[in-house]
């Protein structure tokens, strides 16, 4: 999938961390390469969920 625009959780580098290896997240039934940090606000968490749910759909 090629996502349009930049998801909100990726607009601040303090909010997320890029991993060397993907990890499996049961909620999305998929492997992800980015996890959120403790600094991520609620809106970023929501955006992260939306983004990865959408990634798994396609």
């Amino acid at each position: 999938m090629e996502y349009v625009g930049i998801p909100y959780f990726m607009t601040n580098k303090d909010w997320y961390e890029s991993l060397d290896e993907d990890v499996y997240i049961p909620e999305f039934d998929d492997y992800v390469g980015i996890v959120l940090t403790d600094k991520a606000p609620e809106e970023a968490i929501e955006s992260y969920r939306e983004f990865y749910s959408c990634m798994n759909e396609s």
Binding site: M1, E2, Y3, I6, D22, Y31, G33, I34, C54, M55
Partner: protein, 260 residues
């Protein structure tokens, strides 16, 4: 639509010329012929099912088809899928153009039909391109430039054709990576697709660091979202005129493993 007098005069001259047999019928621009030509162009890239939306201007759809032909000629991803893909199924490739929400496009494996008489179902390797986001190339180029300037997508040269080719190249990258995996499985590789894409990511990253001085872990921040997007973005970088360290490393990886 009302035609002008000068248009009708030119039209009458053309018809008279055709009747005298000195000019071939003027048909290439008619919409049904154009659609047929476009379908043929996608089929030449290996796609069995082709459904191109009328919302795409002909030059844009033509640019997609030519890029797919070019990529297929270089890498043979569609042919590789048909040879090594899901072995218990009839394997085909599809090019579709549905509205895919907030995605320029996507790659998926679809099951368009049920099980056939011989007990085999059909599985299509499908590339979908979103006409709502890709038909207006000027809007798309502007949007892509914003994403590129922030490092979310890989850089390309400033040619508008490279912007037009971005999504179709990215999605072909997904198709190619899966075809490479299927070939590896046919050759005895027994681990999961995610383990395979993770291995490719590690190997490409190692080349990017060692040979091209890469400082980051991914070709673009979108390429960091998972190891499948990592390859699709690095592959796009490699093919659209301004390869970064990961783009060049991807080219080297493909060469080293016999895919170029």
């Amino acid at each position: 639509m009302v035609k002008s007098a000068s248009y009708m005069a030119k039209y009458r001259i053309r018809i008279k010329a055709q009747q005298k047999g000195i000019q071939k019928p003027y048909q290439a621009g008619s919409s049904s012929d154009t659609k047929k030509d476009l379908k043929n162009m996608f089929e030449a890239a290996g796609f069995d099912t082709v459904n191109v939306s009328d919302d795409f201007p002909t030059p844009v759809a033509g640019a997609f088809a030519l890029q797919l032909q070019n990529l297929e000629h270089k890498f043979g991803g569609v042919a590789m899928y048909k040879e090594y893909g899901d072995q218990n199924s009839v394997r085909q490739a599809a090019l579709t153009t549905d509205d895919s929400g907030n995605a320029y496009g996507y790659y998926a494996r679809q099951h368009p039909t049920g099980v056939t008489k011989n007990g085999k179902g059909t599985i299509e390797a499908q590339i979908n391109l979103n006409p709502k986001l890709l038909a207006d190339i000027k809007w798309h180029q502007k949007q892509l430039k914003v994403e590129q300037s922030l490092g979310f997508k890989v850089a390309t040269n400033d040619n508008i054709l490279s912007a037009t080719r971005y999504t179709v190249t990215h999605e072909y990258g997904h198709l190619l990576q899966e075809s490479i995996y299927k070939k590896a499985v046919a050759g005895g590789y027994s681990k999961s697709y995610n383990q395979f894409t993770g291995k490719m990511k590690r190997e490409i990253n190692a080349i990017a660091k060692r040979d091209y001085g890469a400082t980051g872990k991914e070709p673009s921040s979108y390429g960091g979202t998972n190891s499948r997007e990592f390859f699709a973005e690095a592959f796009t970088s490699m093919n659209l005129g301004k390869p970064n360290a990961h783009g060049m490393a991807t080219r080297d990886w493909l060469k080293k493993n016999g895919y170029i």
